[in-house]
Amino acid sequence: MDTIFAQATAPGRAGVAIIRVSGEQAFDISQNFCKIPTNSKSCLRSLRDRDDNLIDRALVLKFDRGASFTGEDVIEFHVHGGLATVSKLMSELSFFSNCRLAEPGEFTRRALSNGCLDLNQVEALSDLIDAETEAQRRQAIKVLDGSFSDAGDSWRRDLLRGTALLEASIDFSDEEIPDNLHVEVADLVEGVGSSISEVLSRSKVASKIRSGFTVAIVGAPNVGKSTLLNNIAGRQAAITSDVAGTTRDVLEIRVDLKGLPVTFLDTAGLRETDEKIENLGITMAYKRASEADLRIFLVSSFDEDLKIPASSDDLVVLNKSDCRNGIELSVSGKTGDGVPKLLELISNRFKNRTVEDFVAIRQRQLDGLQAALASLKETSSFLSHRPAPFELAAQELYFAVSSLDFVFGKVDIESILDEIFSNFCLGK
């Protein structure tokens, strides 16, 4: 197999750039530039080209096969991050036969084929690299450390045992087989089912950490919703005026709220009107507000009709606090009075929902777990019949196992791989 290389850090001018070389000949090739470290230590070295001219002074790191990211021999050159330095070193590298620039995602692919990562870990790695907020990073690192795959292995083990017991009851029924094996099967199925549904409910919240939470600001026309949005955004994102019905479309701004990605929605004021376009905006406001993870009802008085059913986490906030004195839960978009407190409240509510344990994030994982859970419920229900239709219970159990296979990388592998590797950019 070819030895591959690529820049591991972002392209462009920087203090330091890292060039990673991986493959059977990584050590031999690197030997041509400098003396590589004897053990897995980092050393400062002078890199020289074919004509013995100095390229750069660089930190050189050596990773032996089995102890590197790809599972192969790896050398990392940490050079000064000038464009010319990087391109000089790369062109020197490509001079060697069987040594070439890596394809997109090729380092990760090698890690996958060498058994250093499984599919879920590859996805998590992609998430980790894409992570924008602290919560996203924590979640990705948890999947990357393998706890998700460990759970999958234990589910599969239990279900395979359950299947084996059922099959024994079917295929060896004319021999001396205990006639209560289905009891243990029911227990196993129950156990895996509740463990999966626990992960699923955690995951529902967790997927928000990845995709972000939404908060809708709703209320009557002209209560100051757009002004509040502008204050949160820290800029003039929405047009404001004292004319009722100024906001028609739904406006979105995305902010990092103490590590959580949150999108705030500014919506049209809720009122009865004959104006066609405003009405479209109001319909949209109802829809988006009810779908949001949390609603801020901005009101002029606490006994106002909210028009949309409020859930327990929702916040009802008095407007124009600059004109009121000392009332809790009141804000002013104009002066910013009460806004930090409001944001603190929102982030606490979301933090309470987030979890510290591993979860499933990708749609592929969620679909697979949900399908597996549905099959397990069917299995349980068949097993509770008397006489139990063993062949149907076994069939549902097979469906469950193959749904899990789908999550943990067994069937339909090709399309998943294509999807993953097309999401990867060079050199990661």
Binding site: L112, G115, D171, S173, P389, S402, D412, I413
Partner: protein, 635 residues
């Protein structure tokens, strides 16, 4: 009506007139099924056997069918084969296994009168036109890389374009009783050793397998009075679609158990057992352990069940199913007489273990043609299987393969989603055999569809087109299908409201939706009787038709879902693996995976997936390697 003549060929020397299409070697269950099918195709055929009186003999337990095995018999029957017919003619105790479980996992089984079975097989063969030759095959004749016939012990050469070898346990067969060892193919019959040696010279690499039998008991000396008895089913389910009811008297089996004393005797003499004394290297089946194995491996169990199965209506021989052994004769006598009901029993023939050569079936084509010589087909125990039914099915597959090769008849597709035969062939040629291979329903991932009751619906049409299904068989099938389709359209036309359904005893939510008869039958608690209460005219359909329609409705939704799985399977199958692919060069495969894949050389990713122990990670690595292999080839 075809007039035919079967004759014993006794002259010596080269037979220079006849050049057969196919020569079947061996007259066991694989051989008889193969020769009969060859005749149905109208091929000029000959059967070579050591002893013509032993054609169709049941050398192990006197039963046909069971779970998975009953399915195989029905499939053979659906293609015009003889095993089901012979079993029904000789059946003395019909029992449908798993009667209380769903129809997909029910397996018809019968105990047969050993002598009646053999006579029926010989009678059925007698109606066909082929040449019967008594003799021992000592060598295969070659014409370049192709087989061209066989040579007999006396030097006679018989020419044939193809050969189906069904040598059973005769290839270097060795019988073990304690430390006594005899070269034999069956108890008291000559083994065939020269053939193994020649085939090895041609590049065949044999493995050794082992199987065992229990001592045969004299039924007159068994004290039946104190034993639990098991009767035949009162409504017998037959093995062949063509039979209606048992032809001979039905008998009971006795049930007894081993006890602590039995176990003590066996334990004390374990070192005298051929298996435990180190005389046997062959691998035995885990699901059919000897009594020595049972006691050693399951030492906490203080009793094992034994079925006492009469071997025939007139025979006094009884087969004690569950205590096969390779202990010396005197120990067999001691432990057997420690068992309830057998205190004074006389042993007619001691139990023995038999070791024999088999060829790993991994190299075979899906028609069971061997890679050793073109035109050489292998079927039965030589391919590492065990069981009459597995052998017979292979004999049939090989004969279809021969007909395809010589006559270009249309193909009968045996694949995993349409038949148990397909499951077995695929298992054998992709996974090989590491222990004697036996069919189970759990081997069939599409078993809700592959039922004993619809084997004809799955196979008879293509068998008819191909030319191995006789006209009488086919017209009976068409009649069944006609009735089925009339009944199905009657159910289609039903539009039952929940209120009407409730009056007929069907619990339904009042959702206002009208349902067809099929939809109602798909509800597990609904039976055809409920439908008859809704529409009296349905009572006009026979019980067989009613049952068939009910079975289909019960699994309809599952079969629909499985159809998606079948599609996914086919998609996987599409990724082809190069035949010379070097798995040792695939990065990230463990040594175990490399060895398994190199040995199997699967044709496709789908087949690689089916290899035992191959992990998802290994498949991914293979897929990536193959893609880059193809990519490099493309540049």
């Amino acid at each position: 009506m075809k007039y035919s003549q079967t004759f014993v060929w006794e002259n010596r020397g080269v037979f220079h007139v006849k050049h057969f299409d196919v020569l079947v070697v061996g007259g066991g269950h694989a051989g008889t099924e193969a020769i009969h099918a060859a005749c149905r195709y109208g091929l000029s055929a000959a059967l070579v056997t050591l002893d013509r009186s032993k054609i169709g003999v049941m050398s192990c337990n006197p039963a046909i069918g069971g779970l998975g095995k009953g399915h195989l018999v029905r499939e053979i029957d659906a293609l015009g084969g003889i095993m089901g017919v012979a079993a029904d003619a000789s059946g003395i105790q019909f029992r449908l296994l798993n009667r209380s479980k769903g129809p997909a996992v029910q397996g018809p089984r019968t105990q047969s009168d050993r002598n009646l079975y053999l006579m029926e097989v010989q009678r059925l063969l007698g109606k066909q036109s082929y040449n019967l030759i008594e003799g021992e095959v000592t060598a295969l004749l070659q014409d370049g890389a192709s087989v061209s016939g066989v040579r007999l012990m006396d030097g006679t050469e018989i020419k044939s374009r193809t050969v189906i070898l069904t040598a059973g346990t005769f290839m270097r067969g060795t019988v073990h009783i304690g430390d006594k060892r005899v070269s034999a193919g069956r108890m008291g019959e000559r083994a065939a050793d020269e053939l193994s040696v020649q085939m090895e010279a041609l590049g065949a690499s044999f493995g050794r397998l082992k199987t065992g039998t229990p001592p045969r008991l004299n039924g007159d000396t068994i004290d039946w009075a104190g034993l639990e008895m098991q009767a035949a089913d009162t409504d017998a389910v037959m093995l062949s679609f063509m039979s209606e009811k048992p032809r001979v008297e039905q008998v009971d089996c006795g049930i007894t158990h081993t006890n602590a004393k039995t176990h003590d005797i066996i334990r004390e003499n374990l070192n005298r057992s051929a298996m435990y004394g180190g005389h046997i290297e062959g691998v035995g089946p885990r699901y059919c352990p000897s009594i020595e194995d049972k006691i050693t491996r399951f030492s906490s169990k203080d009793s094992h069940q034994i079925f006492l199965e009469p071997e025939g209506l007139k025979s006094k021989s009884v087969y004690p199913n569950g205590i096969s052994t390779s202990l010396p004769e005197d120990v067999q006598g001691q432990y057997v007489r420690s068992i309830l009901g057998l205190e004074r029993v006389e042993i007619l023939q001691p139990g023995y273990a038999i070791e024999y050569d088999f060829l790993n079936p991994k190299g075979l084509s899906s028609d069971l043609e061997s890679g050793i010589l073109e035109g050489l087909f292998l079927a039965g125990q030589i391919n590492g299987t065990t069981g009459y039914e597995e052998a017979a099915a292979q004999g049939l597959v090989a004969a279809v393969g021969v007909a395809k090769k010589l006559r270009d008849v249309s193909e009968i597709r045996f694949d995993r989603s349409t038949s148990y035969i397909g499951v077995m062939i695929d298992d054998l040629i992709t996974r090989g055999a590491s222990e004697p291979y036996r069919m189970f329903t759990s081997r069939a991932e599409f078993r809700l569809k592959l039922r004993a009751d619809n084997a004809d619906q799955r196979l008879t049409d293509s068998g008819w087109e191909s030319g191995c299904v006789p006209a009488a068989r086919y017209s009976a099938y068409l009649k069944k299908m006609e009735l089925l389709s009339r009944c199905k359209s009657a159910l289609d036309e039903m539009a039952v409201s929940p209120n009407e359904a409730r009056k007929a005893g069907i619990e339904l939510g009042l959702d206002g939706r009208r349902r067809s008869g099929h939809e109602l039958l798909a509800i597990p608690t609904v039976s055809f009787h409920n439908l008859v209460r809704l529409d009296g005219s349905l009572a006009g359909f026979s019980t067989a038709t009613q049952t068939q329609v009910s079975h289909e409705a019960l699994y309809a939704t599952y079969i629909q879902r499985q159809r998606h799985e079948i599609k996914a399977l086919e998609r996987d199958l599409d990724v082809l693996l190069p035949s010379s692919f070097d798995y040792h060069a695939v990065a990230g495969l463990s040594f175990e995976m490399r060895t398994k894949l190199s040995d199997a050389q699967p044709e496709s990713l789908g087949k690689a997936k089916n290899i035992e122990g191959i992990t998802p990670a290994a498949l991914t690595a293979v897929l990536l390697a193959v893609k880059s292999f193809n990519f490099k080839k493309a540049i």
